[in-house]
């Protein structure tokens, strides 16, 4: 459950308009807070040799199941600090970490519903990072890293946004 911030999108616009330096500094500060999560999450992903041989990309394969490529999967774990489009509930994300590749998502969540399936058990016997988190936030890489971060990143992001707002208000008053 993300922390709800009111007025942050408007703040970003105002920062761009009135204090470009703060507008540049804010994403950097947010990024610095999110980086530990993505770095840790990449560390929890297996290398090519640690996944099932049939899951690795093969030449001329016509398989529709997303093949695992450690380099791409690790590169797919990242963060963004720009406000997103509103979701179905009307919320715009201000800071987000994501695991965007299909194979990465499979590794992240496999066994949530079917821990006894052959694929999951075979992969677990070869290599598996511990599942951490709760319900929809349960996973092996990104969710685990977020869980182990204990809200430090969230606090740092909120602090950065609040700090930028305070600075802008101070400058406006001065």
């Amino acid at each position: 459950m993300p922390a709800s911030v009111k007025g942050a999108v408007k703040l970003r616009k105002s920062l761009r308009q009135f204090s470009p330096d703060l507008a540049k500094a804010l994403p950097k500060e947010i990024g610095a807070a999110l980086k530990p999560i993505t770095r840790a999450a990449r560390g929890y992903l297996p290398d090519d040799g640690q996944v099932l041989s049939g899951w690795i990309a093969r030449e001329n394969s016509q398989s529709r199941f997303p093949a695992y490529n450690a380099r791409l999967v690790k590169a797919g774990i990242s963060y963004k600090t720009t406000p997103s489009k509103p979701n179905r509930s009307g919320f715009r994300s201000l800071a987000r970490v994501f695991n965007k590749t299909a194979a990465g998502a499979i590794y992240e969540t496999m066994g949530r519903k079917t821990p006894q399936s052959r694929f999951v058990q075979n992969q677990n016997s070869k290599y598996s990072s511990q599942m951490k988190g709760d319900k929809k936030m349960e996973g092996r890489a990104l969710f685990r890293a977020y869980d182990e971060n204990n809200g430090k990143a969230r606090d740092a992001v909120l602090k950065a946004i609040q700090g930028a707002a305070d600075k802008l208000n101070q400058r406006a008053k001065a």
């Binding site: 459950m1 993300p2 922390a3 709800s4 911030v5 009111k6 007025g7 942050a8 999108v9 408007k10 703040l11 616009k13 105002s14 807070a33 999110l34 999560i37 797919g76 406000p83 509103p86 179905r88 509930s89 009307g90 919320f91 715009r92 994300s93 201000l94 800071a95 987000r96 970490v97 994501f98 695991n99 965007k100 590749t101 299909a102 990465g104 998502a105 992240e108 969540t109 936030m137 996973g139 990104l142 969710f143 977020y146 809200g151 990143a153 969230r154 606090d155 992001v157 909120l158 602090k159 946004i161 609040q162 707002a165 802008l168 208000n169 406006a172």
Partner: protein
Amino acid sequence: MANVFIDIAAEFTGKKAFKQAETSTEKLTKNVKQLAKTFGLAFGTAQVIAFGKASIKAAAADQKAQQQLALALQNVGLGRDAASSENYIQRLQSEFGIIDDKLRPAYQILAIATRDTATSQKLLNLGLDISAATGKDLGAVTTALSRAYLGNNTALTRLGVGISKADLKTKSFEEIVDQLGTTFKGSATAAANTFQGSIDKLSVASANASEIIGTGLIDALKGLGDQNSVDDLANSMEDAALYTADVIRGIGVLTQKLQALPGVGNFNIGMIPIVGSYLEILRGLGKQSASKPFTTPMTISGQSQQSTKITKDQAKTAKENLKVSKDSLKLSKAKAIFDLQKIQIEAALKGKISEEDRVRLLLMKAIEEENISNIEKYTKLLDEAQKKTIELRDALKVSDPFSTFNSGALNAATSVESLIAKVRELTGVVFTNPIAMTSFAQGIEAGLPTSEALSGARYAAQGAAAMGGGSVNVTVNAGVGDPEAIARVIEDTLRQSTYRGTGGLLAI
């Protein structure tokens, strides 16, 4: 498609912005038409001014209520939830058709009582259900709920919500709330879906529209800023109303004419040459003056850093307190280890002691520990034990067992003497030799027959005679200068003499 992401922070910007915008535009079109009718056709200038005044009043009252609620929440430590609470009230308003003027005081009462946003919202939802089902005033219901939360159930019984006094006495507040929730579940929603509910929703929308217009007028007042601004504004409003009414009438006529033309679809005011441009500029100016960035402070709800910090601080303080209490406990235990008095008492208690002694020791222990209740208890027990001892002593009281000892011994000596005299009388034996007489007496005392006793006496006398008239010189062969060795030899000799029956004759 992979959909694995975590939103760290988010902002609510409204559901489906485009659709909402479309709906809003449609609503606005309808309202404009309605306003045109209302302003232009139905009412005159005086009504317009009266409406303006009422709108300003409503907007001011709404603003005041908002600020009061925010202040009340801030005072009870829920300041950071003020924005979300306001959103919640707005949602309830549109969902159930109950005006915010009723919802805010109700929410405020609950927030002050519970000091928790989630509980307040849960109880307000319950209050809405109860109010809808029973027809009671929402304020009365929430007051009763807040009192019940604080432990006063009387108000709940007066509501007549089907809770017995026995239930109120035996059940916890949570259980009562669950029961009420089950009883009145969905009442507010059902009421809102009726025709009356729809009318209520419309009246809420109307009140909101009035407040919104009033807010605009207040902004305009603020913008003028002169001493005579109200009069000026009133005059301006009057002129503007007359002007607007005429303009709206004109637009209505113009729209009809334009729509009658072939090829003209949806008509927009902005499409009118020159006049439309001016109106658009005016609209832009109004919009610009209405949206002032950061006139209200940015709020962060959910688990913010500040709340985390407070929680951490509280946990730290609690931890420190716990450590201090643990340390003091350890210290007292350590002191107890070296408390000799206590050690002695404990050691004594472990030994085999009488009941009275045990009570005494326990009393001493209680005095050491300064435990008043134990002191009283053991004092009483000790008194009882002492009384019992006295009773026992009285029961076992006897005369001095040695009081007759001397007379007994005298009697025994007399008896022996009389016995000797009797022996002398019976046997005719006269002992001239004291050694023989003593031997004879000892033999008789030992229960020997008289003949054997006499025989023994004779041997004793002979033995004494053989040893030279009653005195024997003994040469002790022992180390010179070793008194212990000499004493042992003498002792052995005497013992052997005793074995022989001549011990009483020996003298050193």
